[in-house]
Amino acid sequence: MNGSSERSLPYLFLGPALLVMLLVVVYPFGYNIWISLTNMNLYHLRDPTFLGFEHYRNILGEPELVAVFIKTVLWTVVNIFFHVTIGTALALLLNQEIRGRSVFRALLILPWAMPQYITALTWRGMFNFEYGQVNLILTEWFGFEAIPWFGSETWAFTAAILTNIWLGFPFMMIVALGGLQSIPEEMYEAARIDGAGRWQRMREITLPLLRPVMVPAILLGTIWTFNNLNVIWLVTNGGEPADKSHILVSQVYKAAFTYYRYGYAAAFSMVIFLILLVLVIVYMRQTRATERVY
């Protein structure tokens, strides 16, 4: 092997994937940066003129921006926390040798397998005040008061989060199941010989060794959830009650598709993009996600 070919090797390995990404992503991204600096809207769809950073100034000057940002962070953190804990716990349960575990696994991926549109709307129906199954179960089985799910901001947000947790845990479960297979059995045996208990083995072997596979899933899960408009939009029917159930990306969607304010929507997208970029850089510094564990 000569030196120069060894040096070009990684680029060859990387090339195809990179090419696909560049092909599909670079142009749309550049296009958005451009229109975010123009007045492109319904009345200037084909003849946008350069505007500079006016949209950005307007966005950063919006009084509600901080509140919606905090809500978006809350939405993301709560969802990811439950996705990962529920997913990992189920993966640990279903990694044991028990009869019929493929059946359990297959059933548990159903929330992920079924088209989100129908399941999210079904959940909306389940949260109906008078007829929804959630309130029926709460009142008839447990004797609680019926909850006005879409009558208050907090409950509507909770309903959307519950739905999204349900939609997202199977994905983390599958990833964790894969990660568990990378842990060599010998390590457990060695630990057992050293007298480590079940809990100790979990804490010192399983969880740390799950990390390399879970970190990317958590990282991407965070990004996707931060921008996951569908679920909250479908469950709250576009912002019930009274437009209070919105996350940052809802503004982009409304600006683009209700008002055709393409320039503003693109600028808002850039703001979201930059927020996420900062959050993820901080996270990657903390977890050293690009480095090896061994």
């Binding site: 090419l19 809207n41 769809l45 055709y260």
Partner: protein, 422 residues
């Protein structure tokens, strides 16, 4: 050795991915090369499955008479057809003809993606259509109306209601009388009246009943009015004071209850009637009853659907496009739609015919249309809807008083319209 193969493999992958686009492009170009064939017209629509079936039959009939024309119809959802059309127009693609609701021409014409239709058909052509179906915007007409209506009516379950109520007081009385709590658990098993109580489209009839409307003739929002406050108060009372409509009543709940025979009356549009009949409900159609306090008729929003012509349609195709649209909005086709689907014709000659008179559903629907008010087609209406929705929900949830909500609506609508233009 193996390194070399692997390098070959990876380079191969890169080449394959890179060529994918080029190959496909060549493939598409090859298909387009055969331009000696018929004139191809592309039409996008958002029709319901049954309507689409009729459309396809009519297209086949047209093609049989014009062998040199080939029409391709592509289907989209209501929102998709508009958004896709704009996207395609920006990308330099899209259809020659687009079919849709009247309010879609607002944004599409503002964006400069449509051709004025009166230039192609001549102003006289449109005199045959009902005046509510030819609404000008910026001095032009933007679509040829094919059907008329899309308005709310009072639908009642004939098994529970004999004669529809004459005024709103009677409607409330009948609704109360139809409410049933069969097992006495304090939960209502059958409601008297249901309708989507969170969407402003269902508020519109009541605004008119108090003498107000959402926009004036200059297309400026007129939301902060006593009429708006009264309409909001009326809806709030239906739920809070009279308790005739359910707590958390959105479209799907109202629809479900009526289908299951667990609601005596529903306010809903023509799109829903077939589903009720399929569910075994014998329905009656009547106008939404007179408001007792004002003695005025509620005025549901009346709109129409029709064909618009893309600005990017080639000039040499225009004559064929005109023939296609004229055929698809002609008397024969409209008669078919009325008889088979229950769509109201937009042509005056058919509106007076016994086609309407002999069918009680069409007649009831027609009666209501003539009591309605036109839905504004300007793009700013989107901001008005969006401003009305949260305020309406706040009133229904008891979070704000009707007068304050009306004020808030006007403020938000003005703000959002200004933003649209910025």
């Amino acid at each position: 050795m193996q390194n070399r193969y692997f390098r070959g493999f990876l380079s191969g992958l890169i080449v394959v991915v890179g060529c994918m686009g080029a190959v496909l492009q060549a493939g598409c170009a090859g298909e387009k090369a055969a331009d000696a064939g018929p004139i191809e017209i592309v039409l996008w629509e958002m029709m319901d499955p049954q309507e689409r079936e009729l459309l396809l039959q009519n297209i086949t009939a047209f093609e049989a008479e014009h062998p040199d024309v080939k029409i391709t119809a592509a289907h989209f959802g209501v929102e998709d057809v508009r958004n896709q059309f704009l996207t395609a127009a920006l990308g330099g693609g899209g259809p020659d003809i687009i079919y849709g609701p009247s309010d879609q021409v607002g944004p599409l014409s503002a964006a400069g993606t449509l051709r004025p239709v009166e230039e192609l058909f001549g102003a006289a052509f449109f005199e045959r259509f009902h005046e509510l179906t030819r609404i000008e915007l910026n001095g032009h007409l933007w679509s040829v109306p094919e059907q008329f209506g899309n308005h709310l009516v009072l639908v009642y379950n004939r098994a529970l209601i004999n004669t529809p109520p004459a005024d709103t007081d009677e409607m409330i009385r009948m609704a109360k009388a139809s409410m049933v709590d069969a097992d006495g658990d304090g939960k209502i098993d059958r409601y008297g009246l249901v309708f989507e109580s969170k969407e402003p489209f269902w508020l519109a009839p009541w605004i008119g009943a108090f003498g107000g409307w959402v926009m004036n003739d200059e297309n400026e929002p007129t939301l902060d009015t006593p009429a708006m406050a009264s309409a909001l108060e009326f809806c709030r009372e239906l739920k809070a004071t009279h308790g005739v409509i359910p707590q958390d009543c959105d479209y799907e709940l109202a629809d479900t209850l009526f289908r299951e025979g667990r609601a005596a009356m529903i306010v809903n549009g023509p799109w829903s009637w077939k589903g009720y009949r399929d569910a075994g409900i014998e329905i009656g159609i009547s106008s939404i009853p007179r408001m007792t306090s004002t003695n005025a008729w509620p005025t549901p929003m009346v709109s129409y659907r029709g064909y618009s012509i893309s600005a990017s349609c080639d000039d040499d195709k225009l004559e064929v496009v005109r023939a296609v649209v004229e055929f698809l909005t002609g008397a024969d086709v409209q008669r078919q739609y009325a008889e088979k689907i229950g769509a109201l014709p937009s042509l005056l000659e058919l509106q007076g015919s016994d086609l309407i008179a002999r069918d009680p559903v069409l007649a009831g629907s027609m009666e209501q249309v003539l009591r309605g008010q036109r839905m504004p087609i300007v793009p700013e209406m989107r901001a008005v809807w969006d401003a009305m929705r949260p305020a309406l929900q706040n009133v229904m949830n008891g979070e704000s008083a009707p007068a304050a909500a009306a004020k808030e609506m006007q403020k938000m609508a003005t703000k959002k319209i200004a933003e649209m233009r910025s």
